[in-house]
């Protein structure tokens, strides 16, 4: 029984790490590659989650949707919707420099959250959308959890390969150049506005996918899940700790931070009730402290940005 519980916990943790790794990869495209300070991850996460929920759930009174489409359609729909909403946001906000962009994106994520909370026809407001289908959901509990973890890992692997390819390709090189020096990149003929928008949309699509995976794992999505603390800032900490500009670092960061976050919750729950409530804030402190230590002693993260992504040159051995 004890082992069963532990295994269940591990599967649960694995799924969440996978979902967060997708969000961190999305943020890595925006911040690590393109230098865009998106502090509204929760907004794109929410758009993805709700889009997939509306597309795949059963029809319900008083709100649109219930199209009962296959889950895979919901997931592509989630990416599409997040990308689509990123387009006008990017058009308006990307002309701001980094800190202003952060403020603007926080604001937009809040708008999205409030719309979701109050538009009952669209999202069933505070009660959220429930009864979402889950792939292999009719297997028995453990098998279903394990199958979902498998799906998340496959999706993450595909996303990793697709993003990693871009880092090594001229597109990634151009984005990093734009990040390093905007004026010079412009003088070298690159269309900065267009390219930034591309990176913003690309990253947002992955965030939307992460939201959809989250919603189907829980079989429901409610506005409470769109908490900027866990859906935006935790992802930022993951990326910075893991190493921005490094896709493997983003995934590693997601794993490390989520394990600390989740295990510390168990630890604090063991405390007597009066301390347990207070200890919740210790967890926030712990994560903050970890970030401070990383920034102080290893600002480039656990896995720093690789020098010239591909390895052909180290093979040639002509480094000097």
């Amino acid at each position: 029984m004890e082992l069963y519980g532990l295994l269940n916990y591990a599967l649960f943790m694995g799924v969440f790490i996978g979902i967060y790794a997708l969000l961190a990869l999305g943020l890595n495209i925006q911040w690590g590659f393109a230098g865009l300070f998106n502090a509204g991850i929760a907004g794109f996460f929410a758009v993805g989650a709700y889009t997939s929920a509306i597309l795949t759930s059963a029809a319900a009174e008083g709100r649109i949707g219930g199209f009962e489409l296959p889950v895979i359609v919901g997931w592509f729909g989630a990416m599409g919707a997040a990308a689509l909403i990123a387009w006008p946001i990017g058009k308006i906000c990307l002309r701001f420099r980094s800190d202003y962009l952060a403020i603007a994106t926080i604001g937009i994520a809040e708008i999205i959250r409030l719309v979701i909370k109050s538009e009952a026809e669209l999202t069933n407001s505070a009660r959220g959308i429930t009864g979402l289908p889950r792939p292999f959901g009719d297997l028995d509990y453990m098998a279903s959890q394990a199958a979902y973890l498998g799906i998340v890992l496959v999706v993450l692997a595909i996303a990793y390969v697709l993003v990693e390819r871009q880092f090594n390709a001229p597109w990634g090189r151009m984005m990093r150049a734009i990040r390093d020096n905007e004026d010079a990149a412009r003088a070298m003929g690159k269309n900065i506005e267009y390219r930034r928008l591309e990176a913003f949309i690309f990253g947002a699509a992955l965030m939307g996918l992460g939201g959809a995976l989250f919603a189907h794992f829980n079989r429901s999505i409610t506005p409470e899940a769109i908490d900027p603390m866990v859906a935006t800032f935790l992802v930022w900490i993951m990326l910075i700790l893991g190493g921005s500009g490094n896709n493997r670092g983003a995934i590693l960061g997601a794993a490390v931070v989520w394990i600390i976050w989740s295990v510390s919750e168990i630890a604090t729950d063991q405390l007597p009730h009066e301390y347990a409530v207070k200890a919740k804030y210790i967890r926030l402190f712990l994560i903050g402290l970890l970030l401070q230590l990383v920034l102080r002693f290893r600002p480039e993260g656990i896995l720093p940005e690789p020098l010239r992504g591909d390895l052909r040159h180290t093979k040639e051995g002509n480094r000097s």
Binding site: P170, N181, A184, L307
Partner: protein
């Protein structure tokens, strides 16, 4: 090939460029000199599209290019370097050059996923060209070094290298010699000469090093207070009393 017609640029109430007109012949190396604050770099920014002129016109090969952005001008063959090196500091020196060529197939997200073979082919060509450029500039040994770690002079060379990665026709060099040691400087001069003779680049260069101007530039344009003071060969510009006056601030006219 380049004509400037009564260019004016204001910053608030301050007029940095005040009715500047001259033209540049194809194949020449034009030197732009003048005391600090004469408006030379602002003029470069206007020509390169980094700033819009308040009034006036710029024609490039007869076409009015006033107000075009610098990325659009790049595609017409007008490339610039910066006074303070603008390297892509977290990219390697090699990557700094490889990012330059326009219209690379791998700049399209979907090509990288769907036609990687084509991207790799193009990359091989770009890489070869980048290595040749590094070789030409004697930078091969730092090819895989982060550009941010290079010395000031090497960064200047790298900037020159970037202009060689495209089919540039007019290259604007903003103080290529500043902060570069003597030996490297002679090398830089030689490179500029070769590019001018063999590749047919036309140059405009802002420089305070008069030796370099004397060796390379005909004609020389001297600016002061946002205007062209005098234009001609080096000797005649240097011996003109107005130039001395502009540099030394001495008033020759009776007060």
């Amino acid at each position: 090939m380049l004509e400037l017609d009564q260019l004016v640029r204001d910053f608030g109430g301050f007029r940095a460029v005040n009715g500047c007109s001259f033209s540049v012949a194809e194949g020449s190396i034009t030197g732009l000199i003048g005391p600090n604050g004469a408006g030379k770099t602002t003029l470069f920014n206007l020509i390169a599209g980094a700033l819009r002129p308040t009034s006036g016109h710029i024609r490039f090969f007869g076409e009015d290019v006033t107000g075009l952005s610098s990325d659009a001008l790049f595609h017409k063959g007008l490339v610039r370097t910066f006074q303070i090196p603008h390297e892509f500091h977290r990219l390697t020196a090699l990557e700094n050059l490889m990012m330059v060529p326009p219209k690379q197939p791998g700049e399209n997200l979907f090509s990288n996923w769907l036609s990687w073979g084509k991207v790799r082919n193009s990359e091989a060509g770009v890489e070869r060209k980048a290595y040749e450029t590094l070789e030409f500039l004697d930078l091969t040994h730092v090819a895989h070094e982060r550009a941010g770690n290079l010395s000031g002079g090497q960064k200047k060379l790298l900037e020159l290298g970037r202009t060689m990665m495209t089919d540039a026709r007019l290259v604007l060099l903003d103080e290529p010699a500043a902060g570069v040691n003597r030996t490297l400087l002679r090398k830089l001069e030689a490179k500029i000469k070769i590019l001018n003779k063999e590749r047919g680049y036309t140059f405009i260069l802002i420089e305070h090093d008069m030796e370099m101007i004397e060796k390379l530039c005909t004609p020389v344009v001297c600016m002061a207070e946002g205007k062209v003071l005098i234009e001609g060969d080096f000797q005649s510009v240097r011996s003109d009393p107005r130039v001395l006056e502009a540099y030394l601030g001495e008033t020759v006219e009776p007060a």
